[in-house]
Symmetry: C2
Subunit: 364 residues, 2 copies
DNA sequence: TTGTAGGCGTTATCAT
DNA sequence: ATGATAACGCCTACAA
């Protein structure tokens, strides 16, 4: 299976890792015949250097492959040009898209992403100490933070943008989010309006605030409308949770529900596939299925899923904007915290019946 | 659409970003009544400190929220505990999985990922200068590097592991890869053995070495077998390329080919959906479709794609292992470059006919 | 075991 | 415009 080819005879280039003394600005200064500070200035954008020195220095630098040492620079400037991005569910299909966009947006502002990943969102606490260590200029966190943890960011004056987490304590904390509770309400409402009465819900994991809000939004709306309590199961945001979830809901109810609301698209796709391919149900004829996120596969022809889109590109851009603003704010300046809320967008796919079977709307 | 809620009256906590003097080891030393070096030693794993001083120092540190400054440390230790990971196609579904695994493996070795993303693989050159800047301990690069670029890593003695790129110059370069050329040959061979004669190929982008190798592997094998030249189109590794690709191939040939080999799974899925839902073709009855990677959706019930899996988890682990070894090697030590090659694994899905229609094998 | 002192590579301040 | 010089926060001999 694994062919470990230790190159022995074939590959001559065994690199001797000698202690290569680093090239510093002193070396460049010496070669260029100027002072070390002159070299430093040449690498600072708006500095005052004469054309001739600049040319000599740059030529020497190029000859020596000199590049300023960011660690040393950050020591004095207090700017590392690194931004921490904390993300939990890389498997989630949704987060890679967000991360790609964040990385892009952060790069164009001259900074880089220091990536912190974790298996479970609750592990975020253990990462914090590392974040402090690395002296990042700010952090974008896509995980639930406790009040205490937020407080620590404030104490350390570390600019923070919370991504897609609706925190209990909203004030004083910058965040970019999509209104998940509203999304849940909206979806439940649309389905109920079409006459669906018995719902099933395949919710996301209990430790995910996003999952919780979507679930509450849906259940609250159903209750308001006086519909029967939905059958409820919990999943892990993955495909298998969708297939198992549907079976379990059917077992709970003793029949196929009218509609299933899934905590995200991947579970909805699992649910859909189970319904069609395992249970031979007609979707949306016998059963409506809907999800959240509008990840790429939800739009594929085999699915064409009814779902709610989060404007992920805009959200990432907003997060990067917000953070950049916080970082660039002169010290001592007062910055008021913002919450940028994006509205979810209803995607009218083909997996949910959205018109009433009998036009009982005439009776109203 | 975007509701920017500037909290005005509601939110009192407008944080004044005062110049918070950082807590240093001197502060801790003062509070604990010891020297600064004592504090330093307390944060170094195998140092010699008495129990009592250690306790006092740690108590003071905790009280002040002291955390060592990694930038300052790296200045003298020459270890930043950061690893650069360079990745191009985050949209590719394959790379997020790799990145998640890499991040995990690197984290468990006490290091963090500094992420470098780019739109096109050819842009890697522009990132290099940044990599040097940040003083990373090593780099894992999932992009094609020129000889010159590799040479620059060597000159700077920066440990490098090339991920999933078969370089022309293999010696002296540490790399982890899946044999893409062989994978292409294998797939073409299996399909040909089942009697498919007229092939179509939806290849990946021309600037992707992985795409090129898969394509060459397939075309070489078909030529060896004396089969007619395949219809060839180029895609961007995305879903739309798969749907367009199939139509274009049919236009080129004037008929539906026997089989289409797609440069990756996402294009294969696009091709498959187009065949089934737009052209109403029976797959694999009238047309066989296959891809590469075995990304998660390829395994979903609606697709059950015939494909070749790359053992991505193992590859990521191997890359992290390799890099860690290079970094930990004592300076001056000679390290021989390795290439760890992983074999692709054939996934016998349901989108390709793999048995001959007429048992003409009896005739042989 | 502990403290003293020098240095890591840069930027910033201040003369010149 | 340029060059000394003092930080930045930490690690590490070396001496005690």
């Amino acid at each position: 299976m694994t062919k470990t080819k230790t190159p022995s005879a074939v590959s001559p280039a065994a690199q001797p890792r000698a202690a290569a003394r680093r090239v510093t600005s002193y070396d460049v200064a010496m070669l260029a015949g100027v002072s070390q500070s002159a070299v430093s200035r040449c690498f600072k954008p708006g500095a005052s250097v004469s054309k001739s020195t600049y040319a000599r220095v740059m030529k020497a630098a190029a000859g020596l492959d000199y590049i300023p040492n960011a660690a040393a620079r950050s020591l004095i400037t207090r700017r590392s040009n690194m931004v921490a991005v904390v993300i939990s569910q890389m498997a989630n299909l949704y987060y890679p898209e967000a991360l790609a966009e964040l990385s892009h947006q952060i790069a164009r502002r001259g900074k880089r992403v220091l990536l912190f990943t974790m298996q479970h969102e609750a592990d975020v606490g253990r990462l914090l100490a590392d974040i402090w260590q690395y002296q990042v200029d700010g952090a974008i966190v896509a995980a639930a933070l406790t009040e205490e943890q937020i407080g620590e960011f404030e104490r350390r004056r570390l600019p923070l943008v919370v991504f897609n987490r609706n925190l209990r304590r909203a004030d004083g904390v910058n965040s970019v989010l999509c209104d998940q509770y509203e999304a849940g309400r909206l979806l439940a409402g649309r389905l109920a309006a079409a006459g669906h009465r018995q719902f099933g819900i395949i919710a996301g994991p209990a430790d995910s605030p996003v999952a919780t809000e979507r679930r509450h939004g849906a259940t609250d709306r159903l209750r308001e409308l006086g519909l029967p309590a939905p059958a409820m199961v919990t999943g892990q945001f993955d495909y298998a949770s969708g297939t198992h979830g549907l079976r379990e809901i059917i077992a709970q109810l003793g029949r196929v529900p009218d509609a299933v609301i899934c905590g995200n698209d991947v579970m909805a796709i699992g649910c859909l596939d189970c319904a069609r391919h395992e249970l031979s149900l007609d979707v949306p004829g016998q059963l409506s299925v809907a999800g959240f996120d509008a990840v790429e596969p939800s739009n594929w022809l085999s699915y064409n899923l009814t779902t709610l889109r989060q404007p992920i590109g805009h959200m990432a851009q907003a997060a990067a904007d917000l953070l950049a603003g916080l970082i660039d704010a002169r010290e001592g300046e007062t910055v008021t915290a913002q919450t940028r809320t994006f509205a979810p967008q209803f995607i009218d796919g083909a997996t949910a019946r959205l018109v009433a079977l009998k036009p009982d709307s005439l009776a109203a």
